[in-house]
């Protein structure tokens, strides 16, 4: 098979994209900044990238964002699609270190590491790539796109930091079979 991409990864790309796309419309309003919302789908992207690695993460980000934009908003903002892939790839690069499926995502060290990675990946994506593309394509004012980028970064770091971490920890607890369980009276 080309590039040794195994079936499970192909399926994870497909179904992960489906999940990401469906969650496009699920948003948690921030409250204190009007017209901004946290996107739970980012937590799903982070989770899938962390479990399946950079290729799966990148594809889900790219395809999922493009499909979500197209199906629900009737347009594709390419300048925001590519950064999404950057997040997926960035988090996915260290998939082995988190060992979510093996039950390793429970120690504080791993959780902190995961969150450092996601914060950096999001920074590259939203504070560098997205604004630069916006300026190149739409000649939009720099202060506007960097402000937008900063809020996108903040929102995504928050949602992945809380929801993404909750999901990964929970999954790790369930997937890594528990030992030493005793019935209590």
């Amino acid at each position: 098979m080309d590039k040794k991409l195994c079936i499970r990864e192909v399926v994870a790309m497909g179904i992960g994209t489906a999940l990401f796309t469906v969650l496009t419309t699920v948003q948690v309003p921030l409250g204190f900044v009007p017209n901004t919302a946290l996107q739970p789908r980012m937590a799903v992207l982070a989770f899938m990238s962390a479990v399946f690695g950079p290729i799966v993460g990148g594809v889900i980000g790219l395809l999922g964002h493009a499909l979500g934009d197209a199906l629900f908003y009737g347009s594709v903002w390419w300048s925001w699609v590519f950064p999404e892939a950057v997040v997926g790839v960035g988090i996915g690069l260290f998939a082995r270190k988190y060992a979510i499926k093996e039950g390793g995502f429970v120690s504080t060290k791993t959780i902190v590491f995961f969150n450092v990675v996601q914060a950096v990946a999001n920074a590259i994506a939203w504070i560098v790539v997205a604004p630069v593309l916006d300026i190149l394509v739409y000649a939009e004012p720099a202060n506007k796109v960097f402000a937008q980028g900063f809020f996108a970064w903040l929102g995504n770091v928050i949602i992945i930091g809380i929801l993404g971490t909750i999901l990964a920890v929970a999954y790790s607890k369930v997937a890594g079979q528990s030992r030493d369980l005793k019935k209590e009276d």
Binding site: M1, D2, K3, L5, C6, I7, R8, V10, V11, A12, M13, G14, I15, G16, T17, A18, L19, T21, V22, L23, T25, V26, V28, L30, G31, N35, L38, P40, A43, V44, F47, L63, G64, L67, A70, L71, F72, Y73, G74, S75, V76, W78, L136, V137, Y138, A139, E140, P141, A142, N143, K144, A147, Q148, I159, I162, L163, I166, L167, A170, Y171
Partner: protein
């Protein structure tokens, strides 16, 4: 639930084009639209998009909900451009013609209006193209033509799987959200932010877990039926490209070259 745009089988020459042709046209369209700020080019593109839209016999009700949402986004975006940089247009075009004094030292300028008008055109010529693409392209034929065009079939197939399982995941999501809502877990409650995120977690958690199970089942099913056995695969839904595919491609390339020459021959992508 917001209504999604989806493929509808009809018989027009646009439906008969291969998905790959339409994708290439769409990408060329996006690139030209991204590079140019020449109003003549942008207006021509909007006009062509409108004609294509009409020829695809796409009905308004298929896209109306999404179109309204798009308009809302565009308006917001244009508004924010003005808020953040009321003189962006003046910087780009190098002149300043005040029309209206708004407040303080903020003036509405002719250049700003013209610049924002061009940004609007940029969105407007992409929208019909994407509607037509989504409504007229059979997803499986599209995956097949992607593969034929050189995309590894594993990636092309993952796209098909995504479209196959969107409705299933959507159903799961609705069912799970309903059941959790009945337990008192609401996504739209007025609780504090952390509490709201927790509530969302209670809905996404089961959804994600059943998705992970589904990935296992589907991978086994695909392996049992020989997916990935060979270096290439054939496609039931593949259609050979015809004369009109060639014509569309040639048109797209010629148009792109012409548009870019027109845009850049004076050394700047902006024309005023």
């Amino acid at each position: 639930m917001t209504r999604m745009i989806s493929y509808e089988a009809r018989d027009t020459w646009i439906h008969r084009l291969t998905g790959f042709t339409k994708l290439m046209f769409f990408i060329i369209w996006c690139i030209v639209s991204a590079l140019t700020f020449d109003t003549r080019v942008l207006v021509t593109m909007v006009a062509i998009s409108a004609v294509i839209f009409a020829m695809s016999r796409t009905e308004w009700k298929q896209i109306s909900a999404v179109f309204k949402l798009l308009m809302l986004f565009m308006t917001l975006n244009l508004f924010f451009i003005f808020v953040f940089a009321p003189y962006q247009g003046c910087e780009i075009y190098g002149t300043r013609t005040d029309i209206l004094h708004l407040f303080g030292d903020v003036y509405l300028t002719k250049e700003q209006l013209f610049y924002e008008f061009n940004v609007l055109l940029k969105y407007l010529n992409i929208a019909p193209a994407i509607f037509v693409f989504l409504v007229t392209t059979d997803p499986s034929e599209f995956a097949a033509s992607l593969n034929k065009a050189g995309v590894p079939y594993t990636f092309a197939y993952s796209f098909a799987i995504a479209l196959r399982y969107i409705p299933d995941v959507q159903d799961d999501f609705t069912r799970i959200r309903n059941a959790q809502e009945a337990r008192g877990i609401e996504m739209s409650s007025k609780a504090s932010l952390p509490a709201r995120i927790k509530n969302v977690a209670a809905i996404i958690f089961p959804l994600l877990f059943s998705t992970m199970d589904r990935i296992d089942v589907v991978s086994n099913a695909m392996e049992l039926r020989g997916f990935g056995k060979k270096n290439k695969r054939t496609w039931y839904s593949y259609r050979r490209p015809g004369k009109s595919d060639a014509a569309v491609m040639i048109f797209a390339v010629l148009f792109a070259v012409a548009a870019l020459v027109l845009t850049y021959y004076d050394g700047s992508r902006f024309l005023f």
